[in-house]
Symmetry: C2
Subunit: 376 residues, 2 copies
């Protein structure tokens, strides 16, 4: 078998061996002290990454299941203001349509969120707000603190998709006033795909909908998480919990502050390389939001195409992402989240630089060297 | 570390090493030909176990997620007749309450289903019927063929929970007229917990609800399963798919007919042992239904208690199940599903016989020897 390619995507990401091997052991009973301890380890280590003292529960399902759990349990029948400036903002709006009365407060992908429109919506009685903190489709970080301030002023619940920020960038759910935050296992946590962790505030629990779904009933998850030993209401994906526990212990061992600084340094290094090449980041930022620290989006040089560029990079053993929906063919995206470090980043930049050179792109300078200087 | 205990539960079950090791490899991109081939292998091997030519999709979630997907997509706003003679029949009724207008057609756990009442309900306009084929809570197999015949006569959709029968007992979804069948990964398939496979008939698809949930939207699963390569609508639990593929290939290698005969032989051996001991199966069967071939429920002898008996068996390295809800303390249950064979069964019966002897239960004879004779 050929060597596995290096996944530099905005998820899934490379999973450390210790995490993967945790899944190879024999099945354990999920109604047992042993499983309860695994679950407890996960939520203990996740709390600092969420920046919360709220209860955290873990759902066997993707990040989207976590998003739906949040909207279905707290948005049912309510006015929901959905902030949208990328694909996952759109997804929260789509989910909200199935449960409540959403309004999309939208701006073009990657452009600043319409916070004035949010303030108006809240004045007009929006009870729930949805926000994507780190929007991987556009490579941006949205101003969660400001959104949280507006929500608190109007006593609205804030649901925050932190799927690609929690564990890789600064998240302070409690200080920002985030009532429900969601993370996916296969992003900054560097665990395999298939679990979503959701934190829930007391304020949110007081307003939980009476009419809830079954598998995604957060009241049932919270009730079972309060048992000793901790349990899930339905059979959990045990190997994924075993893996997540190891991934969480790695976060605890590294320390969340160090981990965030590592992500920030990697993101800066990519931006330094892009500048040295003379290429443009997507989008051009000059507003309330900022560049993502876990994924970087870059405009594809005119001399080449998405297919050629990513194809050649793949032949060098590195998988990067293209644009989604209307950005397909316009941008490429490099994920730098989870357990990766300087070697993986330099391999990626080296493959990109070589590929662009071979495809006849005129680069201003040596981006790999510039990034290496920054990292050193 | 102590040796892992032997899980003789009605799920989770021991997972073969080849299946477990499939999870230890590096993450793969789920939007790729490689992942599509994994998904395709799973559904190809599952089709004969379901007895269907209908499309099969796989949800990253427990069997309960599959049950809810069935009810939410096909029962929304409809009259649902829920057949209930055990815990999982009750669960389908509970789920149905969140989506449609269910009537519980209930009999005591383990007793025959009220098929006359079903016929009446269908006459009165029930559009959807829910059935648990193999009810592990009571150790029984319900008459799916007869229920299917009634449903077809009245053009109602039949949703069948085959979570603990598919892959271990005879299931002929198409011949019986089952429109939606569900299996869980951690039961007869002997894969890890965390996936549910759902088959959907054309007839059901023509009647799918307009108002569907998001994560469990079966139209989205079917649409993405029709892509080439096959995809899931949301990020799948990749390691669990890799494991399920191996488990499914093992089923294909064994052959579904042989696998079912192996399960039947193991079940008969347990019943032979119980008879030799002079104990009583739960329930006493003399009707349309039969004993489960994947789990056996036995009344706890008067001389001992559930806690003492299962505790002592556990000290001998074997985990068996107790009763659920009102049967707690009344019965114990031995799972014999998945990849287990004569050695695991004899170990379990040996531990039980020794434990009962030590606890002062008067046994009529040597159940282990009787079971071994039957198996040989």
């Amino acid at each position: 078998m050929e060597k596995e390619p290096l996944l530099m995507l905005p998820g899934p990401v490379p999973v450390p061996e210790r995490v993967r091997l945790a899944m190879a052991r024999q099945a354990i009973n999920h109604r047992s002290a042993e499983f309860g301890a695994v679950y407890a380890d996960c939520v203990r280590c996740l709390a600092p990454a969420f920046g919360t003292e709220n209860r955290i529960v873990i759902i066997s399902g993707s990040g989207t299941a976590g998003m739906e759990a949040a909207v279905a349990n707290f948005g049912r029948g309510r006015k929901i203001a959905c902030l949208v400036n990328g694909k996952f903002g759109e997804r929260l709006f789509d989910i909200s349509k199935r449960y409540g009365e959403p309004i999309a407060l939208a701006s073009a992908w990657g452009t600043p969120l319409p916070l004035e429109a949010l303030a108006e919506s809240l004045e007009e009685g929006a009870e729930v707000v949805t926000l994507v903190h780190n929007e991987t489709s556009a490579g941006i970080l949205n101003p969660a603190r400001e959104v949280g301030r507006l929500c608190r002023r109007h006593d609205a619940l804030l649901i925050m998709d932190g799927i690609t920020s929690i564990g890789g960038d600064v998240v302070e759910a409690d200080r920002w006033g985030v009532d429900v935050a969601i993370v996916g296992s296969q992003k900054c946590l560097a665990a395999p795909a298939g679990l979503a962790a959701v934190s829930v505030s007391e304020r949110a629990m007081e307003r939980i909908a009476d009419d809830r779904p079954y598998y995604l009933d957060l009241a049932a998850y919270l009730k079972n998480a309060n048992k000793d030993p901790m349990e899930t209401p339905y059979t959990p994906a045990v190997p994924l919990f075993l893996a997540l526990r190891e991934a969480c212990l790695l976060i605890e061992e590294e320390g969340i502050e160090h981990r965030i600084m590592r992500h920030q340094r990697l993101a800066q290094a990519v931006r330094v390389a892009v500048a040295a090449w003379g290429l443009s980041l997507f989008p051009s930022i000059d507003g309330q939001h900022g560049y993502s620290n876990t994924v970087t989006a870059v405009r594809i040089p005119e001399a080449t195409t998405d297919g050629e560029l990513r194809g050649l990079v793949k032949r060098l053993g590195v998988i990067i992402a293209g644009g989604q929906d209307h950005l397909k063919g316009q941008i490429f995206r490099v994920g730098h989240m989870g357990a990766v470090g300087a070697p993986e980043l330099l391999a990626t930049l080296g493959a990109l630089q070589a590929a662009m050179g071979r495809l006849g792109c005129r680069l201003d300078g040596d981006g790999v060297a510039a990034a290496a200087d920054h990292l050193a």
